[in-house]
Symmetry: C2
Subunit: 386 residues, 2 copies
């Protein structure tokens, strides 16, 4: 396998983008990534999108978006793993470059979620859960994560305070991110008085519905050197699955696919969690961030909440988590989220994160964890400046 | 890149499978493929599906189907390129093995199309066309292919007789395929008196709505040798896109993405069309087969219809096309179709095609062409017995 690096990133402000079409939402960051990389062409393109069909009545997105990007003709694929579609696009593009099949590949993600009416978004998102066994019986994602939260509280004594700490931290970080959907700070009181969605999860425990796109350019380390770019190498890629139905799992208080994907990424990288300096993780709900930090091995099982409460995951903490603001503040356009995480890693590793959220000591190695549904799929990537 | 071979295939009878769920439709052929390959595990899985969301209210299919297959934990992806999703799954799995990322990968495809009510299937299929520019204005796929047929007739003098010859041939071949949805022979009179769908295309010019799955196992040539399998090597893989909207193309009588994908596959294989002995092509409509045979270079532009009428594409012809019965007779479960084509290549190359449709001289090299929408994406694969 050839060595692969990320040489360009493109993002736009996420939010409720009613004045932009699905095409615009993708093409704007894709052009920005190509420009940022300084390449004169792309050989191929992979787009992550969870449900073009249900959110926008449009499948066949690889071809549609390549055409709108002015690249009709190139191989262009769409990949899907629910909310981990962006991470899957990154891995697929990584394999394409690593294999020698293509030299310069754009990995992008997109979701246009606000154009559906009524409960259309809730229905579309619920197709990431087990339709026949969970959704048919009334489960929605806030409900499924609420079950995980209650189980975690029961088993480990995780508290309301700890969930709140995650939301307050991520909004603090996101307030410094010019691309965030909700770039405002929040307080303990605001979070704990916000409307209840599925007990114990309140609206301020939940990531929002978002329109957004994101794109990065991958190429070989050799080509990256010729582009005179800082070499941000993809040293680990791990992908794992689990039953998508919560009730089929042995333990609801851990995320097996996250642990497995991380093990695979670490093995490829020849690293352990001790080598990682910061991470972007999939905080679709506050409880998710806590469980993920435990499943990754950053904190022992049952200790993620306490660590968040003590500020260990803050910008100045021992292990900063979601310096971008996370899904909570930055937004969660499901197909684009995984690519957005990679972009934050690249910014932090390059020392260019905006508005004061850059880590004081520019890190050399970071990790992104992107998951689908209630953890039925997970992608973990490790990037290192070499 | 490592050399890659197909070592196992699995199929079941396609049709209106109201007694089977989406999961069953996939897992049955997946288990058959694993059994046929004689492997004791798979490292990874890629599933092609066009619209799990619109046809079955279920996305996140990689994880769901891996779990139902008893393989929760492995990396499992879903890829989509409309009706070329199966071909894309095959290419993605090929890259994964070629790259060294995984040794044994299952490439599958599935679509459960008959569980939607009313015009649900027509709406879902139309998401392979340009929703904003074509579908919004009333276009459906029979309509789009009818436009191509009229243009081809006008430019080249293609006739009703020639379209009919494709349907009669494919049903003749399909009558010998135990897995075909419509394994009956038909006649010129039956085709030409069948109900009009979109002039000049009649119902017997159209492939059906189908429930079906298919799976193959890919591994390295080195592992294939240890399995003591005939070595059916993937010598070429080509992928190309075009505008998915017909009106954006320079010429409606040719398929540019097919020509481009074939050029790329031939380049990788070090072959030309003259080296190919037979092909499975994407006859979603009779006119499609004619245009594809021209775009692949099997026949000169405008001569595909005459060749079909002369019997050159029959089982005993100079260049047999769709020995399986094609989409027309075998059925067209859109996500599975591309994998079904690969299975027919493997059977013919192995000399085991059922019920008298095996080519008299067992071929050494064959080609599969699978396309999305009205040709907005195309995958071409070339397999050779070595």
């Amino acid at each position: 396998m050839r060595d692969v690096a990320v040489v360009g990133v493109g993002l736009h402000k996420w939010g409720e983008l009613w004045d932009k079409s699905l095409r615009d939402v993708f093409v704007e960051p894709a052009l920005a990534a190509i420009d940022n990389a300084g390449v004169d062409h792309i050989d191929s393109m992979v787009v992550g999108c969870m449900s073009g069909g249900l959110f926008a009545g449009q499948e066949h997105l690889g071809s549609l978006l390549a055409d709108y990007l002015g690249q009709a003709g190139i191989p262009a694929s769409r990949v899907e793993s629910a909310c981990a579609s962006g991470g899957l696009a990154f891995r697929t593009a990584f394999m394409e470059v690593a294999s020698g099949m293509s030299d310069i590949v754009l990995a992008g993600g997109v979701e246009k979620m606000t154009d559906v009416s009524g409960d259309g978004a809730t229905y579309a998102l619920a197709t990431a859960a087990d339709q026949e066994y969970e959704v048919f019986n009334g489960a929605t994602f806030p409900g499924l994560y609420a079950l995980m939260a209650v189980a975690h509280m029961h088993k480990y004594g995780t508290t309301r305070d700890m969930l709140t700490a995650v939301a307050v931290k991520n909004h603090n970080n996101g307030s410094m991110n010019p691309y965030a959907q909700y770039p405002f700070k929040t307080t303990k009181q605001e979070v704990e008085e916000s409307v209840m969605v599925a007990s114990p999860l309140r609206i301020m425990d939940c990531s929002p519905i978002t329109d957004g796109g994101a794109a990065v350019i991958l190429t070989t380390v050799d080509i990256a050197k010729k582009l005179k770019k800082p070499i941000i190498k993809v040293i680990g890629s791990g992908h794992a699955t689990d039953s998508i139905a919560l009730h089929s799992r042995e333990d609801m208080t851990t995320l097996r696919a996250t642990t497995l994907a991380a093990e695979r990424a670490f093995k490829m990288a020849g690293k352990t969690i001790k080598d990682i300096e910061f991470a972007e993780v999939h905080d679709c709900f506050t409880i998710a961030e806590i469980v993920v930090t435990e499943s990754l091995g950053i904190f022992p099982a049952g200790k993620g909440g306490e660590a968040a409460l003590r500020g260990e995951t803050g910008l100045d903490g021992k292990f900063p988590i979601n310096t971008s603001g996370g899904l909570k503040s930055k937004g969660h356009p499901v197909g684009a989220t995984g690519i957005g995480q990679i972009i934050e890693l690249v910014k932090q590793l390059s020392g260019v994160a905006e508005n004061g959220r850059q880590l004081k000591k520019t890190p050399k190695i970071g990790l992104a964890q992107n998951m689908g549904g209630s953890g039925g799929s997970t992608l973990v990537h490790i990037l290192e400046v070499i």
